[in-house]
């Protein structure tokens, strides 16, 4: 991989220059302590130190609501909501990038989700490393580091960034402002190694993930699920903020003339009560406990069987967002201890 350096004082000039590759979006301040990816007007607003944004970057690839196509009595016509609009997304942490890699898996395969990849190919990704907090367990999920899935990735090495160039587009972006970048020298390498180790040691939690699929099978009937179900409010917040939750609902919206309209899809959650309801009123997951269980089971067990890896990046968003304090780290840890009493 091509690697260069960028001095911190050159970051904003570089981001300014990157606007020629698309509309610049980055974490901006929202609440007291929260930030969200949004369009950057003033570069000074960018929260370079932001840890986890409220919503993950999936909103750029699968928007909360999206028009699939329009229809009239004569048939279906494609619509492209944002034809060819390009974005530069700055400030994605390794877990965010892994989240996108997981969505890539889901939306490719035998049937390619054209809406997702139409947006995907128009977004340039500039990653940025981070220091974990008490809710991060990306070290356990194997997502605290990424060697691909970005165009550029910046790692803090003191007064500079080490910049990994991941794609030809990333290379173009570097070349377009080549005077801002420097060579990788010995001091940079040493500092990179030192900081990588320090970052690894910073994790407050270490969730053991070996054998998780088996543990989920063994503890399928565990009372822990019932306890979680008693607490859960079925609000769906955990799914909305999750970088790897991709479920959606489809609805046809008619215009007032009842002749034309559009088919839309929008984020759904398996925590919602009617998610698994079928004809005849039978609901395969009537109990809240079965719905909470389903979400974690699908991520740590079902997805592994289907795609060979868990659908969780350890970002901690669901922990932070849950009004009922349902905590995946706690759940996994307790489940494991149940199996090994």
């Amino acid at each position: 991989m091509k690697i260069v350096t960028l001095s911190k004082s050159n970051l904003l000039p570089f981001l300014e220059a990157s606007r020629s590759f698309g509309e610049l979006h980055a974490p901006l301040k929202r609440g007291e302590k929260s930030c969200a990816f949004a369009k950057v007007e003033d570069l000074a607003d960018i929260q370079v130190g932001c840890l986890r944004t409220i919503l993950p970057p999936k909103k750029y690839f699968m928007p909360p609501e999206q028009t699939m196509f329009a229809f009239s009595p004569q048939g279906y016509v494609p619509v492209n909501e944002e034809e060819g609009k390009r974005y530069v997304l700055f400030g994605l942490h390794p877990c965010d990038i892994h989240g996108i890699k997981i969505l890539d898996l889901v939306f490719s395969g035998k049937y390619t989700d054209t809406y997702y990849f139409e947006r995907r190919k128009h977004v340039a990704i500039i990653g940025l490393d981070c220091i974990p907090d008490q809710h991060c367990f990306c070290n356990s999920m194997g997502t605290y580091f990424t060697e691909d899935g970005f165009d550029l990735f910046l790692s803090d090495i003191g007064d500079r960034y080490m910049v990994m160039v991941g794609t030809s587009l990333g290379d173009d972006m570097v070349n377009a402002s080549h005077h801002l970048f420097g060579e990788v020298d010995e001091r940079a390498k040493e500092e990179f190694k030192r900081r990588s180790n320090a970052r690894r040691e910073h994790f407050a939690v270490d969730v053991e993930t070996w054998g998780l699929p088996e543990i989920f099978d063994l503890e399928y009937e565990s009372d822990l699920w019932k306890d979680a179900g008693d607490k859960c409010l079925s609000c769906g917040a955990c799914s909305m903020v999750c970088p790897t939750c991709y479920c959606y609902d489809v609805l046809d919206i008619l215009e007032l003339n009842a002749q034309q309209g559009a088919r839309k899809r929008r984020w759904d959650s398996c925590l919602f009560k009617d998610y698994a309801l079928v004809a005849g009123g039978h609901n395969f997951r009537k109990e809240r406990s079965s719905r909470v269980k389903n979400r974690f089971f699908h991520k740590q067990r079902g997805f592994v069987a289907e795609y060979g890896r868990p659908a969780c990046t350890g970002c901690g968003r669901c922990i932070e967002a849950c009004p009922a304090d349902i905590n995946i780290i706690e759940l996994i840890t307790k489940l494991r201890s149940e199996t090994h009493v």
């Binding site: 889901v106 049937y111 046809d252 004809a279 067990r301 289907e306």
Partner: protein, 282 residues
């Protein structure tokens, strides 16, 4: 209009015209459809047990099994029960109306692996819809299969789907057709009376050389499975069709997940062995 449709978009339905509507029993109709686009019609190839996503413009989509056999191409037949939004809207459409179809989806029956075996088809109620595709496939490829046995039950004679077509099989030499009703309210019913599992007393079955395809309401599964297991059928030789809420049909929306599988991609046909290993099947 179809030339605007990107060919690679799996969500975009193809226009199909309703060419005939055959009322079956109350609230059930057989729709015969033909694709508007010749090329789409030519390229549409399905296997028995697969389903399509049917769109009624402005109302939405629903997964519906294909009832016609691939051995009889040209028209696509869907047997639909009126239960909710999409199906009610479909029932309001006259012949010649346009609807949307995409698919075929799902795994379908493993017909190649079933060749050389006896076939036992067990259906209850609307479960006959997907099995009809398999039935005619097997009858049209008769030499590839050994004995073919059909067991199909309805509540009363007036509730039996494809009744005249199936009654016509009663005296055919190359199929054992066992039709039953729970209750004969006509006094003219020519076949059996009683629930489907009772039909097992009427036939010899060799579990080693027979593959069973079962499709029907959950209560029927319970008793039919019991009968099959009593006769030592291998769990791999029992094929079931599972129903789940579906939105996309192509493994993206998540709705149809059962345990580790997507019903739309990995199913809807599962072996009994698959099913007992999946949580939340019923």
């Amino acid at each position: 209009m179809s030339d605007h449709v990107p060919k690679d978009n799996p969500y975009q339905p193809h226009l199909a015209r309703i060419v005939r509507i055959l009322p079956q029993i109350p609230d059930h109709r057989l729709f015969q459809l033909r694709f508007e686009d010749e090329e789409v019609a030519r390229n549409f190839k399905h296997r028995p047990g697969q389903f399509v996503e049917l769109s009624v413009l402005g109302t939405g989509e629903a997964p519906i099994s294909i009832s016609s056999s691939p051995t009889r191409p040209g028209v696509l037949e869907l047997c639909v029960r009126k239960v909710g939004r999409v199906t009610e809207a479909l029932f309001r459409l006259p012949v010649d109306s346009l609807i949307g179809i995409r698919g075929p989806y799902g795994n379908g029956y493993p017909v190649e692996e079933m060749e050389g075996h006896n076939l036992l088809l067990v259906a209850g109620g609307l479960g006959m819809a997907p099995l009809r595709s398999l039935l005619w496939y097997a009858m049209d490829n008769r030499s590839k299969f050994k004995d073919i046995i059909l067991m199909y039950g309805a509540r009363v004679p007036g509730d039996m789907l494809f009744k005249y077509e199936l009654l016509g099989l009663l005296d055919q030499p190359d199929i054992t057709c066992l039709l039953t009703v729970d209750r004969d309210d006509t006094g003219r019913w020519p076949a059996h009376i009683g629930v489907v599992p009772k039909l097992f007393d009427k036939v010899e079955l060799d579990p080693k050389t027979t593959i069973a395809a079962v499709c029907g309401p959950p209560v029927m599964y319970k008793f039919v499975l019991q009968k099959l297991l009593e006769r030592n059928f291998s769990k791999d030789h029992i094929l079931m069709s599972l129903e789940r809420k579906m939105k996309c049909g192509v493994g993206k929306c998540g709705h149809c997940a059962i345990g580790y599988k997507y019903t739309c991609l990995d199913g809807p046909i599962f072996t009994y062995w698959d099913v007992i290993n999946l949580p939340e099947v019923v």
